[in-house]
Amino acid sequence: MDRKEVTSLKEFICIICPVGCKIKVDFELSSLSASGFASAPAIKSIHGFRCQRGEKYVQEEIINPKRTLTSVVSLKNGEMPMCPVRTSVPISKDILEEMTRNVSQLSVEAPVKIGEVLVKNIMGSGADIVVTRDLNRMIN
């Protein structure tokens, strides 16, 4: 088993809310490459965040950065041609590109309601693809 130790001094911009706190972190990341399992980074010092979510964001950003995906899918027989969707929770950044391709193939039948689940646990990410706009059926 390889044991890699990486020490880093980095500045992150938190993306949790529009403030965008600049968070400076001095951390040590130990990774066991055989199992590909990384333990929580040993943070020597962290400052610059204005709330707890910033601290949590940076920890995740170091090990496994996550993002929320938003897009549109085809709406069949609807009052509008497209229906906006989102991932219910943030998903891992490394599957983001593949997920955008998968989502772009989806379509849904009108009417739809906010919160309606289109795909449960997409790509095993733990996130569902949900509708974000109430849209009616097309009136002729």
């Binding site: 965008g20 993002r67 549109v72 497209m82 772009s104 974000t132 706009r133």
Partner: protein, 456 residues
């Protein structure tokens, strides 16, 4: 039929101000006229319907919602109050007597005599002609908001190889949006030497996809016969003049322009409402009333907002003032009313501040000022007599505000609000840092001053 209150525009500002007016009426005694919200689109929600990304409603609902989700929440409250909504209805004329002329397929042409009018007509986008980008005029040049509509509402991809001019939030959001839909965004260009949009958007829209951001650069030529083929990009100096020899080319088929939002006030102008040339929005008093009695303005139509949450706070305040004005106008209650409309004291600014609202105050009421600076400033202290507020930084892309309690205005005697760059100790959570010594930058002295003028 009694004169109604007309809200023009059913975007977030229009919906919130209508909700606020009705809720404030409910707290008062007497009979109140109806509120009618008018919008030319088929759906309410305004620009929110095409903003399918998250970032809305964090302050209000403690959740990060997409634009349509936020619109739905507001609409729920709106519907519960039973406020009349006229969609697919275009206001074609407003005059200084508050006569509103509307046109719609199902109601035809109508003239409404309004008791009060609130302009919540949002913004339009700045186009190529305004900044005189030279070159050919091929297809494939869109403003960022239009491209957003094409993708998110109509389902069209505007192009495959894109160059974006302007690093405001719309430009950054569209860089990500296009990338998600399979287009290649070659670069985002920004003429200033600082980014226009939020830092978080630089991270999640550019850094995440390794899209290069060129500060102090702009497009100096567009080449293409029927469709855009390439652009020439040059570096610019601090006077926005292209630097000779810095030019390079990028082959592309689409250009997105994200070069500014302009408040939409054609109807207001038609009615004779005075506009402030530095915002292109109405000149207002501390109650958000315009130069015409009974006509108010708020939301993006008044000044461009960064966050819908702040816009909602503004709209709620305006709704309260409108209710008070209507209360006084129809002589409902016995209360004299505490609002003084179109008071005579002007608020003036110097060239470091791009604009400040409100333009006029009575000096008798606590006022929340909103303003924007022209360039980024660090560690400034706003001082007026004994009043003081410190800002760690002021950025042009973040609307700043300061609330000055009424009692401080009594002491105005040629005093002015002075923004001075002073050295201070910056305290951020966990660690104390010394801010940079900026005595040498005292030239960044910014003045907002209030001159006592005789009432007009």
């Amino acid at each position: 039929m009694e004169k109604p209150i007309i809200v023009i525009g059913a975007g977030p500002a229009g919906l919130q101000v209508a909700i606020s007016i009705v809720k404030n009426f409910q707290n008062k005694e007497g009979f109140f006229p109806p509120v009618i919200v008018i919008d030319r689109e088929k759906h309410a929600g305004g620009i929110l319907n095409q903003c399918i990304h998250t970032g809305f409603g964090l302050a209000e609902y403690k959740e990060e919602l997409t634009g349509p989700e936020y619109a739905s929440r507001v609409l729920q409250e709106f519907r519960q109050l039973g406020i009349e909504l006229r969609l697919s209805t275009t206001v074609i004329r407003v005059d200084e007597n508050k006569m509103v002329t509307t046109l719609s397929p199902h109601r035809g042409l109508e003239k409404i005599n309004a008791l009060a009018i609130i302009f919540t007509t949002g913004c339009r986008e700045r186009a190529r002609g305004v900044i005189h980008i030279p070159g050919d005029r091929p297809a494939g040049i869109y403003t960022a908001g239009l491209a957003q509509k094409f993708i998110n509402i109509d389902g069209y991809l505007p192009g495959k190889r894109v160059v974006i001019l302007g690093s405001g939030d719309i430009g950054l959001i569209m860089a990500r949006r296009l990338t998600f839909q399979g287009a290649k965004v070659l670069a985002v260009l920004e003429a200033n030497n600082f980014v226009g949009g939020l830092a978080r958007n630089v991270v999640q829209c550019l850094d995440d996809f390794n899209i290069p951001l060129y500060l102090s650069h702009t497009i100096t030529d567009i080449i293409g016969k029927n469709r855009v083929e390439k652009v020439k990009i040059s570096r610019v100096d601090e006077n926005m003049r292209p630097v000779w020899g810095s030019e390079f080319e990028l082959a592309c088929d689409t250009i997105l322009l994200s070069i500014g939002l302009i408040p939409e006030n054609e109807l207001a102008e038609m009615a004779g409402v005075k506009l402030d040339p530095s915002t292109n929005g109405a000149v207002i008093d501390e109650n958000y009333m315009t130069s015409i009695k009974g006509i108010f303005a708020c939301g993006n139509a008044l000044h461009v907002h960064d966050l819908v949450d702040k816009l909602a706070v503004e709209a709620k305040e305006v709704g309260k003032n409108v209710a008070e004005y209507v209360d006084l106008s129809i002589g409902n209650s016995s209360t004299k009313g505490s609002l003084e409309f179109n008071a005579g004291t002007s608020v003036n600014i110097d060239e470091n501040i791009r604009y400040i609202l409100p333009h006029k105050i009575s000096g008798k009421k606590t006022v929340k000022f909103h303003f924007r600076v022209r360039k980024p400033l660090n560690d400034v202290t706003l001082r007026m007599g004994n009043f003081q507020k410190r800002f760690p930084y002021l950025l042009p892309n973040e609307m700043s505000s300061v609330t000055i309690p009424a009692e401080y205005f009594e002491r105005i005697d040629g005093d002015y609000l002075e923004l001075l760059a002073v050295k201070g100790v910056k305290k951020v959570k966990g660690k104390e840092e010394d801010s940079e010594l900026i005595q040498s930058q005292i030239v960044r002295e910014v003045k907002i001053w209030i001159e006592k003028k005789l009432p007009v």
